[in-house]
Symmetry: C2
Subunit: 390 residues, 2 copies
């Protein structure tokens, strides 16, 4: 076990502020492994199970657990999942990855669900040469200059360009308004990609306004939108702010199409937004009408039976992170981290739950994106965009 | 005036949460301009004058003010500086840039001094097509996919690689330890560049530990460093944490060379660190022994006469942001934003205070970096690295 040769070498590698490695636990782990009683393959999971991003973390974890019941073994050995809560905090995300690697001796890691958590955790996993697969982090930077970091979702460059394309070509919009959450790099980055892509197609950005996460009143931004008379309004923000802004837009009588992004595909958007988010269009990861692979059908049935509800995009991406990782270990015929890493980078046409997934050596997934719309209180599929066709 | 054609069009462009445009002020501005009484060229400055990053903001602003006394006119018109405080907050940085453009009608902007402030402000300046020059922000992402954003300092890719090169070649180090502030993308990014560059030269990273901004105790990280027996310790962190870590390292008897980065070249490092930072090496922007251009000599004399002290790197980079911008306006022979932007992108061999500055169309400065060392309570120049030579 490369990262746990002895208690002595563990101490030389890294000791953490705020936690003490328990030698007793390590000793027990070594003994059971040595005696062959436990031949499980340990996979770490680090997610925001509590705190501000817990909506995403809880959903991803439930998705992984159901995937594990479908595929509980690999290389004829049981897979053991070890969960660490990042509490939606950067430092806790770093701690979680460190613990999973050093104390739990995991072979690979799934997580995190958000940009901040993934940036912190990826630094540690990458240096430790432990493969990591993020289910849902779309920020382009997380895989940049990293060897061991992968994702099973598309990134924001693809997402922002697809939104601009849809606005310009499908909606026929020539004038766009954009409302940005200046406190979120996610929103600032997506808006920038959208605006450049929209203008490069010949469109004009006629209004460009800002707010800050947890703002309640969008009246002034929306009045600026009204005065600019756009053909489309782009709001690449999280679900709480989108729900509020849609409500206030409806009150003001704004009736241009509104496009948002993957962060809104949660049942909380529908609960918060009600009638006011009817008609909202967004770029998303998944629609169950597209779940045509055998694994997708099997998974969705299992999920419904196990939980009594339908799987959403975050559950499904959690499952795909797990399935892609298990597939890589199977192909690697090994639990050595370098071999798992190489196999992940050769993932080609994997028939996952959210679609067919190919991963490049840069760690990024090449896969379809779906345009969805809120209709009668549910998410309806509009169209699918293939990155190869564009 | 492109951005202020009428009160009506101003309202259509963008109205801000939290401030109301004063039509009286606008009217006065329009009237005085129309009557020709005020032919000044207005430049906006947005900096963290208060809050956690005020050390940097105050220094940069003082540097700009002295530069303005040396070169108070351009195109035979007086230059008027308008300052906005970002309070070291992202949203306030966005507000500041918005105000400078919409209310003050500035022709170009200097700022911000930190990554967070610059990312927020750059989004607005870029969309508004108002050229912006950051004096000190080294994060690679701020100019990425932006047309109107420039900087007069090097970026962290160059800085991290130079540190690895120095460690490997000049110090002859083969084993490096790294201590990272996981809460700062600046530190995580620099550490990643350093480690990859050090390993690509044949070195090994033998210890890689973390802390979080404002942590007080580095004992466990430093014990891990000691146990790993490195030849060099890299700490790309801000001055407060570096001063504390150096103090504790000395107490523990660690005597390997320590390398840090541009964030430590402040008098506060020397005050906080005292004898314990003696010997600290770092990559920096400026040393006065290298101030050989006529402008540099003139500026440093002026600065000393005006303030009674020597200019440091943050003052000097503030001055260079101003001088480079004035030079571009002069060459543009115009205050039109598109022409200033084009002239900035053609900055070639400008003999500034911090060195000779060339700016590419990607907005980044190509310029020298200096290795400095703390000796007898002062910063001493060790060597200079030219990006072309490497």
């Amino acid at each position: 076990m490369e990262t746990l040769q002895s208690a002595g070498s563990l101490m030389t590698r890294k000791v953490f502020n705020g936690f003490l490695v328990s030698f007793i636990i390590i000793c027990v782990a070594l003994c059971t492994t040595a005696s062959g009683e436990d031949n499980s393959i340990k996979l770490g999971i680090y997610l925001p199970m509590s705190g501000s991003s817990s909506v995403y973390g809880q959903a991803v974890y439930q998705g992984i657990k159901v995937a594990h019941t479908i595929r509980p073994t690999v290389l004829n050995r049981p897979v053991e999942l070890i969960l660490a809560d990042t509490m939606s905090k950067k430092m806790e995300a770093a701690n979680a990855v460190e613990m999973l690697i050093k104390t739990d001796n995991v072979r690979a890691i799934i997580g995190e669900a958000t940009t901040n958590g993934t940036i912190a955790g990826a630094a540690i996993a990458d240096w430790s040469k432990i493969p990591m697969v993020s289910p849902t982090t779309t920020n382009p930077h997380i895989t940049h200059n990293r060897t061991y970091i992968f994702r099973v979702c598309f990134n924001d460059t693809f997402q922002g360009e697809a939104a601009a394309d849809y606005a310009y070509k499908t909606l026929g919009a020539r004038k766009a308004a954009v409302i940005i959450d200046i406190a979120q790099d996610y929103s600032v980055g997506l808006a920038n990609v959208f605006e450049r892509a929209f203008m490069s197609r010949g469109g004009r950005v006629v209004s460009h306004t800002y707010f800050q996460t947890s703002d309640q009143d969008f009246t002034m931004q929306l009045q600026a939108v009204m005065a600019a008379k756009p053909d489309v309004l782009y709001m690449p923000n999280y679900f709480r702010e989108v729900a509020k802004a849609c409500r206030q837009a409806k009150k003001l009588g704004i009736n241009v199409p509104i496009i948002s992004a993957d962060g809104v595909q949660t049942k909380e958007l529908l609960e918060l937004g009600g009638d006011d988010v009817e008609g909202l269009i967004f770029t998303g990861h998944f629609d169950k009408s597209l779940a045509v692979t055998p694994l997708a059908r099997q998974y969705l049935n299992h999920f419904a039976a196990a939980t009594g509800k339908d799987a959403g995009p975050y559950e499904v991406l959690g499952a795909d992170a797990y399935f892609v990782l298990i597939d890589a270990i199977e192909r690697a015929k090994s639990v050595r981290s370098t071999k798992i890493r190489s196999a992940l980078a050769l993932t080609n046409g994997f028939k996952g739950v959210s679609g067919v997934i190919t991963i490049g050596s840069d760690g990024n997934a090449v896969k379809n994106l779906v345009f969805m719309q809120v209709k009668e209180g549910t998410f309806q599929h509009l169209t699918t965009v293939n990155p190869i066709d564009r």
